[in-house]
């Protein structure tokens, strides 16, 4: 995955978890749903990223015994993850503003 895509995937995961703790599959579905299907997060991209974020202390994984089926791992943002999300948010806002200026610029 390119750095740009990885950074975007990281932002999506942090955003999804800011809205509440989620399982991996729910994170992937949340991104597709909230972006109106514009963005997608493949499980192949999501899964190593979640493990990396867990190792780096940005998210915390715990086994969720609820439900009748197999226990599932649920991820939540840590305080360090919230700080990282605030940084990413401001970064993407600056990007969006810059794109808006570019798109509005006349030749």
């Amino acid at each position: 995955m390119s750095d740009g895509k990885q950074s975007r995937a990281l932002f999506f995961v942090l955003l999804a978890l800011d809205a509440g703790a989620k399982h991996g599959y729910e994170i992937s579905s949340w991104v597709g749903e909230k972006s109106g299907g514009f963005f997608g997060l493949s499980f192949g991209a999501l899964y190593p990223l979640l493990h990396k974020l867990e190792r780096d202390g940005l998210v915390r994984g715990a086994w969720d015994p609820k439900g009748s089926g197999r226990p599932r791992k649920i991820y939540a943002l840590t305080p360090k993850g919230k700080v990282a999300l605030a940084d990413e948010r401001s970064n993407y806002r600056e990007h969006a503003a810059a794109f808006a200026r570019l798109l509005g610029a006349k030749a």
Binding site: M1, G24, Y25, F43, G44, Y47, P71, R72, K73
Partner: protein
């Protein structure tokens, strides 16, 4: 069970140490079931829902490589940086050092030189067999519990060879001692051994038995400890394998 084959195949393909590998498979199993339930709820047939869930949650080679890089233990990463010919020696040296330490401790605490003189060839042989068995067990401990290399090729080293060697060590010790007693009793019966020297003569074959039994017991204890360690790490007793040609990394 649904997805069982897929998960087994994935477990064999992913070169992660245990228990991380088992946890990844558990996590994926839960996600697959959730995706399947959602597709079923949306009206897909069981077969279509299963196929859709598998397609959606497929881990491509890139994702597997990322997971492997993420979970590779630091010590194994360091050994992997060495040339292949050297890493084997490092593993052997790491196994030989505790054995050398144990032998040094035994020689300092027990009159081993006297034992060796009295025990003769049988003691030397049982010492060599027992030390080889211990070395094999220690090498496995280094590979499986320190480097945490749980690849199929590495887990195929899990053979009872050290236990056979321990049994051979004990047999040689028993036979050596029995032969010693045979000679002593024969000398005594022929009147070539004075009665007052009998206790000393009866003591001489004992070191062979003591050393052989101690080494054999140590091998069995170490074997059982390593097995318990592997079980605690959730390493399957029959290693998942992606193919006969698989090599250790």
């Amino acid at each position: 069970m649904r997805f069982e084959l897929h998960l087994l195949e994935l477990e064999a393909r992913v070169d992660l140490p245990y228990p991380e590998r088992a946890l990844v498979i558990d996590e994926l199993a839960g996600e697959l079931e959730a995706a399947y339930a959602q597709h079923r709820a949306s009206g897909l047939s069981p077969e279509a829902a299963e196929a859709a869930a598998l397609d959606q949650l497929r881990l491509d080679p890139g994702a597997i490589a990322s997971l492997e890089a993420l979970h590779l233990p630091a010590v194994r990463r360091a050994v992997a940086r060495l040339p292949a010919s050297l890493s084997g020696w490092v593993e052997l040296l790491a196994a030989a050092l505790p054995l050398a330490g144990f032998m040094a401790f035994a020689f300092s605490e027990v009159p081993m030189l006297l034992f060796l003189r009295e025990g003769g060839f049988a003691l030397w042989l049982s010492l060599a067999l027992g030390a080889l068995a211990l070395l094999l067990e220690l090498q496995r401990a280094v590979v499986w519990l320190v480097l945490r290399d749980h690849s199929g090729a590495s887990l195929r080293m899990d053979t009872p060879t050290p236990l056979y060697l321990a049994a051979a060590t004990l047999c040689v010790g028993l036979q050596g001692a029995a032969l010693g007693y045979y000679v002593v009793v024969g000398l005594w019966a022929d009147g070539r051994l004075e009665g007052r020297r009998l206790p000393e003569a009866l003591r001489e074959p004992l070191p062979t038995l003591v050393v052989a039994a101690t080494l054999a017991a140590l091998v069995v204890l170490l074997h059982a400890s390593i097995k318990a360690g592997l079980r605690a790490l959730r390493v399957p007793s029959r290693p998942a394998s992606s193919g006969e040609g698989e090599e250790r990394r």
